[in-house]
């Protein structure tokens, strides 16, 4: 058996209409949402220089990108991310952006988690907001992430917020070496309390120029427990007696939380000060969203001013991305019915001699807003079977002026005059519009 005739490369997938159409619906709802808030649609190249992404340390394992070499000898990759190229685009734009709101829905190619060594193609939607460094800007983007989950039909979810600068500041206070920092981050990422304790004891015992203050050691140890409702986390942190410079990062976070509460979103919000991200470019508020009962991160984002700076012009930037394939997976987890909302209203069958007239009838039905398929009549029994599997509601058999109308739902057959039928469509349309929009 030749494998390529049935197998697909690892990480790629074919999307049949049962999968693709529901995804398209969510995509268009997201696009509408972004549009309503003034986010303009853009697209970035499907492939770019490998160096562009390689330079952003911590983004991805190199092996989780799909690389190829162009005829000129440059190494290229299929875009593993949209934020980096969008920042490049904005930083290179002619004029300084003023409250520039951008949105995208694109396929990206990368390992889904840091531990996946091969790339997967998936659809990501998201926004990037440039030129606003206020807490209001942070709050707007987070509120959009929440809205994205809501328009996707989810209600039970939570958004974890942190300010990565609080974490960074804590590390600076401790003056850890590069390797120590790396180890500490890994322990935090895995909430490995046992090993964390041992690591901190070894830190305390190690001789160093400036000893780490006890309060910082205690903070580093408590870090993975600093999550929960904002008030709870804040009061926990207050007990460490941090200096104001250190604490200001939380004041900022609290401000963002207050704005989001004003918007009525506080029920979704939690703090997790140990939330860190593999993406190195974040600097400021950082957030992740999960659905209750679905074990994967669905939305993530944050502030990343240093990224534009790396491209030569520092612009305040904050954004988020939502993984649309994960949304579909989550719907499956919750047994949410994923049905394509599209179907065919009428199937028109005709004999050779009436093709022209049948086409005209089909066109007039389509003009009324219905979906019509046309088949040469052939074996009627087969046509009925086929219509059933495709969920077609009614079959019209064209016979001169009189149409034979086979209703597959009610299982009956009536004969009607062509003009009467077409006139009756107006009423049907009205009825449908009051019941549902499909």
């Amino acid at each position: 058996m030749e494998y390529f005739k049935s197998q697909v490369p690892r990480g790629s997938k074919y999307e049949y209409y049962t999968y693709f159409e529901p995804k398209e619906i969510i995509t268009s709802q997201l696009k509408d949402l972004f549009h309503q808030y003034g986010y303009r649609q853009i697209a970035v190249p499907t492939f770019e220089y490998f160096e562009l992404f390689k330079e952003s340390k911590g983004l991805l394992e190199n092996s989780a990108m799909l690389k190829f070499i162009d005829p000129a000898g440059d190494i290229l990759v299929l875009r593993p991310d949209c934020t980096i190229p969008i920042s490049k685009m904005v930083a290179n734009a002619e004029s300084e952006p003023y409250h520039l709101r951008l949105s995208y829905v694109s396929n990206v190619f990368r390992g889904n988690s840091l531990h996946e060594s091969s790339a997967t193609e998936f659809t990501q939607g998201g926004i990037e907001y440039f030129g606003d460094d206020s807490p209001d800007g942070d709050a707007e983007v987070i509120s959009m992430a929440i809205k994205s989950l809501l328009v996707s039909g989810f209600e039970e979810f939570q958004i974890d917020l942190s300010n990565i600068n609080f974490f960074k500041h804590s590390l600076e206070e401790a003056k850890l070496s590069g390797d120590e920092e790396e180890e500490y981050k890994n322990l935090i990422l895995s909430k490995n309390f046992t090993a964390l304790k041992a690591f901190l004891i070894s830190l305390k015992e190690k001789k160093r120029e400036t000893p780490i203050p006890d309060s910082i050691i205690r903070l580093l140890e408590a870090m993975p427990t600093l999550y929960g409702r904002p008030e709870k986390v804040l009061s926990k942190v207050a007990s460490f007696g941090l200096d104001p410079d250190h604490f200001q990062h939380l004041t900022r976070l609290m401000k963002v939380y207050e704005i989001l509460s004003e918007y009525g979103f506080e029920q979704y919000l939690y703090f997790d000060l140990s939330l860190i991200n593999h993406f190195d470019y974040y600097d400021g508020v950082l957030f992740q969203g999960y659905l209750k009962g679905h074990g994967k991160v669905i939305v993530q984002g944050g502030r990343y001013d240093p990224l534009t700076e790396a491209f030569g012009r520092k612009i305040p930037s904050v954004g988020f991305g939502i993984n649309l394939d994960e949304v579909i997976q989550a719907m499956k987890t919750f047994n949410q019915k994923i049905e394509s909302p599209y179907y065919t209203d009428y199937l028109v069958l005709y004999e050779d001699a009436q093709r022209k007239e049948a086409y005209e009838v089909a066109e007039s039905i389509r003009r009324k807003g219905f979906v019509v398929e046309m088949n040469p009549k052939g074996d009627l029994k087969k046509q009925i079977q086929g219509a059933h599997t495709k969920n077609i509601k009614e079959i019209l058999v064209y016979n001169d002026q009189r149409l034979e109308l086979i209703n597959l739902v009610a299982d009956d057959v009536v004969k009607v005059y062509k003009n009467t039928f077409i006139r009756s469509l107006d009423d049907k349309k009205r009825d449908l519009a009051t019941v549902s929009i499909h």
Partner: protein, 212 residues
Amino acid sequence: MINIALAKGRLAKEGYEIFKTLGYDVPAMEEKSRKLIFEDLEKGIRYILVKPADVPVYVEKGAADLGIVGKDTLLEEDRDLYELLDLGFGQCRFSVAALKDTKVDFNQSPLRVGTKYPKVSKSFFLKKGIPVDIIELQGSVELAPIIGLSDVIVDIVETGNTLIENGLEVLEDIAPLSARLIANKVSFKTKNGQMEELIEKVQAYLEEQKEE
């Protein structure tokens, strides 16, 4: 409902004993059967028995909220999850071993390493700066140096008796191992109330054990 993946075998038995003591027993677990799923809807708990190497996979993907698995499997699988507690039982260690009284030439390049744990072996020798040729085996790793298939082996050592019986000795320990309680990152947060209660109970139990 909390789903707990247990590594089939001794770890599952000892892990379940802890949960049982804490009131999360499902009597069907204690009967001889081939069933792989045991649940108690009232207590809101479901145990899933899987192969050790699959426990981290179930937990990372969220098919299980919690898991009990050896640190050896965690090191080898290297998954994105929370490693919450050292449960203390199932203690052993990863070690490098070679034929007794034979000097291993570490300068020979590459060093041939027989093991069931290619990732662990690779990263250990990488840190030491020794180039290696990993020979991945499914079992009876002790045979490899005897037959001349490899220069050293990397394996789990508990008492060391198997090594001695095969004329091998430990050259160096890589890491201590024991059973761990692991959690899915999202469940840990979204099922916070229920999970927190269970985890705290296990933690309290472990501390009690330590004091005794």
